[in-house]
């Protein structure tokens, strides 16, 4: 039933919330920073070892995703913040990934 509510209800406005959730401590930030540095070092290391593309590319991909997530979730505190921010961002991210993957597939960019 889609009868519209005619009974007055209370104000919809959510109670004022802090603009951001709890933030990690500076120490935790530094720890994340160290992890990021290590991951980057690993990435760079792949440049010096001779592995086949079949292993190299997924490895690099995983490392990059890890770094990406660390920055987004901690430094940009999406992990602690309101879910709705994450939803917007993921819309853009997933949208971009899907659309451009389709375009690249149409070009046969991964078949060669």
């Amino acid at each position: 039933m889609e009868r519209t509510e005619t009974r007055p209800v209370g104000p919809q406005t959510a109670p004022p919330r802090p603009s951001h959730g709890p933030h990690p401590s500076a120490k935790e930030y530094v720890r994340i920073g160290v992890v990021l540095a290590v991951l980057t070092a690993l990435e760079v290391a792949t440049y010096y070892v001779d592995v086949s593309r079949a292993i190299l590319i997924p490895t690099l991909f995983v490392l990059a995703v890890l770094k990406f997530l660390l920055v987004v979730l901690w430094f940009m505190h999406l992990r602690f913040d309101d879910r709705r921010y994450a939803r917007f961002f993921v819309m853009g991210l997933a949208g971009a990934a899907t659309l451009y993957l389709i375009v690249l597939l149409l070009f046969g960019a991964f078949s060669g």
Binding site: E2, T4, E5, T6, R7, P8, V9, G10, P11, Q12, T13, M91, G92, G95, L99, V103, L106, F107
Partner: protein
């Protein structure tokens, strides 16, 4: 009134503007209503210019092998016609409605970022003027509104550089205003207005802003690539260096198709808003209509290659995109049928807005059906790039969009200007326009199927296309007459004394009608509390136990403030006027000329914009009181 008095000097150089009336106030205003009006006026002016270009096109095509204009001029005309109508008329006209109405419909005092709003408008206007300055600086864009590379990158005239730069500039305007309006709808609703009490027009506005946020960056990159190919000889679309022109097509239509829903969803919103008023029934299946709007927006991102069926993407792609395209008919059909159900059993009062709305639905369906015929890929091989396509999109954009805009104009005119447009003239205009419109674009279906390609400045007599072309030309001049009737109507109306006999002339349903006409600068003396969808209607009427409607006795309605806009609202601090948005905007076209002519000009433009932005950032949004 905003109680702003002697201003603090901003950045110590320029005095803060304070005037809220007079010519200068229009340059510095941050009031969404004034900005909305400016958007509307500018967009309408561009409509006249784009229409004038169309009239020249039709004059040239009135017979075989005429030479009203030559090939070169013709190519500039249709390109500028398309670009103008899409980017400088329909999009900003939608922005005009959104700007004016969204804050009023959700019970807000302004948009989320009033100065950003002013910035958006100025950037759009200056971007449009920048584009038009090309006529005097070596030739207007001439590669078609979708500027296919490498024709657009190799054309020796300067036109397509103006195209890229001009659209980049207006794109900045749209992006800024999209973020602004999206945040406004999400965040600035009056107490009690849950998402499913948001008026349907505002809902469609929200969907449009999201489409813009996600599609504009794509065209931005494409335009930069086009510009760099032209200006700095990069190789993005240059086949001689391995570049692929098809990349441009994907990028353009990845934006371009969502764009067509950006053009039509505002119209759907207007239709859904007005139809119930004159049917005296609520919108049938409000939630379904909302969801179908979202679905259209979403699916709209997955159909772009239907503009490229003949490009040789192969049968897999053509199958996939053919099917996804046809699927759009489903959510669109939901809207149409829900509108019909709204009318069904209603008490249809054919006042002028209703005429336009019903006309819009009927004309849009014709265009929608030819759209579905395009999705039938093998027949589209015959139709693509012919006048059949031209017919399709004018039926949807003009038939659906522009008719709906006129509906919106006559409907909200009293709200915005405090004067009723003449019903008689509005109706006369409608009938002339309806006949002229069908006479113009109906024959184009036939022309296309009989082999008339689009973007053709001439056609030989032997093709046998003369008769229908003549009809189309006659029709287009009829449309011009209709537009003149509208202009006359406006002029006559503005001469009448201000004031409405009835503050609620249409027996309307949504929140913007709870305030005075025109609304005070602060919109509402008191921010309304919302109890229902169609809040205003529910303040006027209740349904009794047997589902019958009875009018609420005057004065008995909860929250209903009979003294509208009665000059209270003192201590309401509205954002103060500012000229920094204008300054920041002026830098952009200057940068545009810089790209074409000299690094120094480019740097100067950048400097102006940066200064504008600093002035803006350093100035408090509300001037302090002395």
């Amino acid at each position: 009134m905003a109680s702003v008095s002697v201003p603090r000097t901003a950045a110590g150089i320029l005095r803060r503007p304070t005037a809220t009336t007079g010519v200068w106030s229009w340059f510095t205003t941050v009031d969404h209503k004034k900005i909305g009006i400016m958007y509307g006026v500018a967009a309408f002016a561009f409509f006249l210019i784009g229409g004038l270009e169309a009239l020249l096109i039709r004059a040239q095509l009135a017979g075989p092998e005429l030479s009203v204009v030559n090939a070169d001029q013709y190519n500039q005309l249709f390109t500028m016609h398309g670009v103008t109508m899409i980017f400088l008329f329909v999009m900003p006209m939608a922005a005009a409605f959104f700007n004016y109405l969204i804050p009023l419909q959700i019970g807000a005092r302004d948009v989320a970022f009033p100065r950003l709003n002013a910035f958006s408008f100025w950037v759009f206007l200056l971007g449009g003027l920048f584009l038009y300055s090309s006529w005097f600086l070596g030739g207007a864009p001439n590669g078609g509104w979708f500027g296919y590379a490498p024709n657009s990158t190799t054309d020796p005239s300067v036109g397509m550089s103006f195209y890229a730069l001009g659209l980049l500039i207006t794109g900045i305007a749209s992006a800024a205003s999209a973020v602004n309006l999206a945040v406004t709808v999400i965040n600035m609703r009056a107490p009690g207005m849950s998402l499913f009490r948001v008026p349907i027009f505002t809902w469609m506005g929200l969907v449009v802003q999201f489409l813009l946020v996600f599609s504009l960056p794509i065209i931005t990159v494409a335009l930069f690539q086009l510009l760099f190919d032209r200006r700095w000889d990069t190789a993005f679309f240059d086949p001689t260096r391995g570049g692929d022109p098809i990349l441009w097509q994907h990028m353009f239509w990845l934006f371009g198709h969502p764009e067509v829903y950006i053009l039509i969803l505002p119209a759907f919103g207007i239709i859904s808003e007005i139809l119930p008023v004159f049917s005296r029934k609520p919108l049938f299946g409000y939630q379904f209509v909302v969801f179908s709007g979202i679905a259209i927006g979403f699916i709209g991102f997955g159909v772009w290659a239907h503009h490229m069926y003949a490009a040789g993407l192969g049968p897999v792609a053509n199958t996939a995109f053919g099917i996804s395209t046809a699927i759009i008919a489903v959510p669109t059909g939901v809207k149409i049928f829900n509108w019909m159900a709204t009318m069904y059993g209603g008490d249809l009062r054919f006042r002028s807005p209703m005429l336009y709305v019903v006309g819009a639905i009927m004309m849009f369906v014709i265009g929608g059906l030819s759209g579905v015929m395009h999705s039938v890929v093998p027949s589209d091989y015959q139709q693509t790039d012919t006048y059949f396509i031209v017919a399709h999109f004018h039926y949807v954009i003009f038939g659906g969009g522009v008719f709906a805009f006129f509906a919106g104009l006559v409907f909200w005119w009293p709200k915005v200007f405090g004067r009723m447009l003449s019903e008689r003239l509005a109706k006369i205009q409608f009938w002339i326009m309806l006949v002229g419109f069908n006479l113009t674009f109906g024959p184009m279906h036939v022309l296309g199927m009989q082999g008339m390609i689009r973007r053709s400045f001439t056609y030989p007599e032997a093709l046998g296309l003369t008769f229908w072309n003549q009809m189309a030309t006659v029709g287009s001049y009829l449309i011009a007459v209709a537009v003149l009737v509208f202009i006359a109507n406006v002029v006559i109306t503005q001469r009448k004394p201000k004031g409405l006999d009835d503050e609620d002339p249409w027996d309307a349903r949504s929140l913007e009608w709870t305030t005075s006409s025109p609304p005070p600068e602060h919109n509402f003396d008191e921010i309304p509390t919302v109890h229902a969808l169609d809040e205003f209607w529910h303040r006027k009427y209740v349904e009794d136990e047997r589902g019958r409607v009875v009018r609420v006795p005057a004065g008995a309605a909860p929250d209903h403030d009979p003294a509208r806009g009665g000059g209270s609202g003192h201590a309401i601090h509205l954002p103060s006027p500012s000229f920094w948005p204008l300054v920041a905007a002026i830098g952009l076209p200057v940068m545009g000329y810089g790209v074409l002519y000299s690094w120094w000009v480019l740097a100067l433009g950048a400097l102006v914009t940066v200064v504008g932005l600093y002035g803006w950032a350093l100035e408090p949004s509300v001037a302090e009181e002395a």
